[in-house]
């Protein structure tokens, strides 16, 4: 894995992605210092163009767009990372069980996984949020619910190929319990591929969250990028900046995450390097 990170560090695009994300982290950490006020607070006249007293202008109600974007960054990261972690845990349990126990368990679990991969993901996520009523946690559940199948398939594949390896057979021969073999020996061995695929999932999760919030399914009490864009849509003709800047924030964030993910994929998954 160390050689992998050295390969990652030589990848200029991946380093660019890492730099973008570092800036984003700094922004999230420093937000309470730079903008101590609530982002929903009205701070100036409405529809001020960018460049004046407010760096990125103000929105229809006179809220500072820059402050809104800074708070939205936190929401996007929390939901993106939270949903991806939930998807990884659930996907690893399903895929791990299928790959370890094989037979009927595998057939049934993989059929279910394929089923969830077939149904239209975004509409399914919409439905879940609509049914659970919009909040940060229901968004996390909805995004995790459509993201876990790829992790499950990955972990199953890794487990199937690891199951035949000598060190796993040796453990089983020494009488190690299933749990010990799975958690101490097999899971650590597929960590690198899960990290690589999982990092790409964060980008997809952030895009999904933006789409949900844009359609009015974001948490109404939490500032998010999709929410700013959907609120600014009505005044697109007179105030282009309200929609433009949050979109650039989404684009840069997802681009940064994808570049890092590609870099990790190349560095940690030598088998996938050709793709």
């Amino acid at each position: 894995m160390r050689a992998g990170f050295a390969r990652f560090a030589r990848n200029r695009m991946a380093l660019f992605g890492a730099a973008v994300l570092l800036c984003l982290f700094l922004l999230v950490v420093l937000t309470p210092v730079i903008y101590p006020d609530d982002p929903f607070k009205l701070v100036g006249p409405a529809l001020q163009p960018p460049g004046g007293r407010f760096l990125l202008g103000t929105d229809t109600l006179g809220r500072d767009v820059a402050a809104e974007i800074a708070y939205g960054a936190r929401t996007s990261l929390i939901i993106g990372v939270g949903a991806t972690l939930a998807a990884i845990v659930f996907g690893a349990v399903v895929g791990g069980m299928a790959g370890y126990y094989r037979g009927m368990t595998e057939t049934v679990l993989m059929r279910i996984t394929e089923f969830f991969q077939t149904i239209p993901a975004f509409i399914f996520a919409l439905l879940i949020v609509a049914i659970l009523s919009p909040s940060v946690s229901s968004e996390i559940i909805a995004i995790a619910a459509v993201s876990w199948p790829s992790i499950a398939r990955l972990v199953r594949g890794e487990f199937v190929s690891l199951g035949g390896r000598e060190f796993v057979q040796a453990c089983a021969g020494l009488g190690a319990s299933d749990a010990r073999i799975i958690f101490n020996h097999m899971l650590p061995n597929c960590a690198s591929s899960v990290i690589a695929v999982g990092s790409l999932l964060i980008g997809t999760a952030i895009l999904l969250e933006a789409g949900l919030a844009f359609l009015g399914l974001g948490d109404p009490n939490v500032m998010s990028w999709g929410l700013i864009i959907s609120a600014g849509r009505a005044v697109l003709r007179s105030a282009w900046w309200i929609c433009t800047f949050p979109g650039i924030a989404i684009l840069l964030t997802v681009l940064g995450i994808n570049l890092i993910g590609d870099g990790l994929n190349e560095a940690l998954n030598p088998r996938l390097r050709e793709r």
Binding site: F115, I119, L126, A130, I131, G211, L215
Partner: protein
């Protein structure tokens, strides 16, 4: 004979998926807060108590869960997806009436994305690591990270508000009374921006996949054989590599069909395109859950049908396919 057996086999494997969708839909109705009748009535609160009782009876909500499920399935089998109180119309006719504009948008976006994606992937792969390859890679990286709805809004700012070239929204110019080619031109002008917003992400995806697929194929033994026979590089590419490289792209394109439907919801909302996406958005605004459930059901079935079609086409194209 072999073909008929394959189609039969695929139909059989599609059946459990359809059943799964029905079960999932049924579970989602019951997961929603409150009585399922209020969900079916569109949680409108505007429904009269008599109407709610009628709904409860019609959908068998006063019966056991098992009976409820059977009633639900039989309703679906009769294409009875319920009634939208908000829209004052049958859900199935609401969806049918919007199917045309959505199909037009999706087919245009899908066709453009697939055709251009394949061409760009080919250009990138044949000039591996050249400037063309780098430019195409860069564009697809950016396209990958751009939310479709934001791209749509930015195009409106530039091409409609700024330059005044294209209309901001709608399906055609209301009251213009165009006919014949004038009407086609008018709809086409309205279609450009929604189709581009929807297509760009998939274009990037297919270009990337096509590039990888060609590079994988050029390492195969049959390419070396063809080269040893003295065939030109051009002939090797068009006659051998391209055909084999297309297969995984077509498969993925079929799998992605479901996501295209999801993407059309946000894009249609941005452009006021009068299709299923706008219908879904309005249903969300009024919390008309039953209508969204019906849209989910229809689009999930549509995905199954598309996958089936892709697999059958695949089977016809590739004689090596085993059942």
């Amino acid at each position: 004979m072999r073909f008929a057996r394959y189609v039969g086999y695929r139909l059989l494997t599609a059946l459990p998926v359809i059943c799964g969708i029905i079960v999932l839909n049924f579970l989602l109705i019951h997961l929603a807060p409150g009585d399922a009748a209020s969900v079916l009535a569109g949680e409108s609160g505007a429904a009269t108590p008599e109407y709610m009782d009628e709904l409860r009876h019609k959908f068998g909500l006063d019966q056991s869960l098992g009976m409820q499920f059977l009633t639900y399935v039989s309703n679906l089998a009769h294409f009875n997806l319920g009634y939208s109180y908000r829209n004052d119309a049958d859900v199935s006719s609401l969806i049918l009436e919007r199917l045309g504009p959505t199909s037009l948008l999706m087919l245009t976006a899908f066709g453009t994305a697939l055709a251009l994606g394949i061409i760009l992937g080919l250009v990138a792969a044949t000039g591996r690591n050249s400037w063309r390859d780098n430019v195409i890679s860069l564009i697809s990286l950016v396209a990958y990270a751009t939310p479709g709805f934001w791209l749509g809004l930015m195009m409106i700012v530039i091409f409609s508000i700024g330059l005044g070239w294209l209309p901001t929204s709608g399906f055609d110019t209301v009251g213009a009374g165009h006919e014949g080619w004038a009407e086609v031109w008018d709809i086409g002008r309205h279609l450009v921006m929604p189709a581009v917003s929807l297509a760009l992400f998939y274009l990037a995806l297919y270009a990337r996949l096509m590039r990888a697929s060609i590079l994988e194929q050029t390492g195969m033994d049959y390419v070396t054989t063809a080269r040893a026979k003295g065939q030109t590089e051009r002939r090797i590419m068009t006659g051998h590599v391209l055909r084999n490289a297309l297969l995984p792209v077509v498969t993925l394109a079929g799998v992605q069909a479901g996501n295209l439907i999801g993407g059309s919801i946000v894009v249609e909302t941005v452009f006021g395109w009068p299709g299923i996406g706008t219908l879904a958005f309005n249903a969300l605004q009024s919390r008309d859950l039953n209508l969204i459930l019906a849209i989910f059901f229809i689009s999930a079935c549509l995905v199954v049908v598309i996958n089936l079609a892709v697999d059958v086409i695949y089977f016809m194209l590739d004689p090596r396919m085993e059942i």
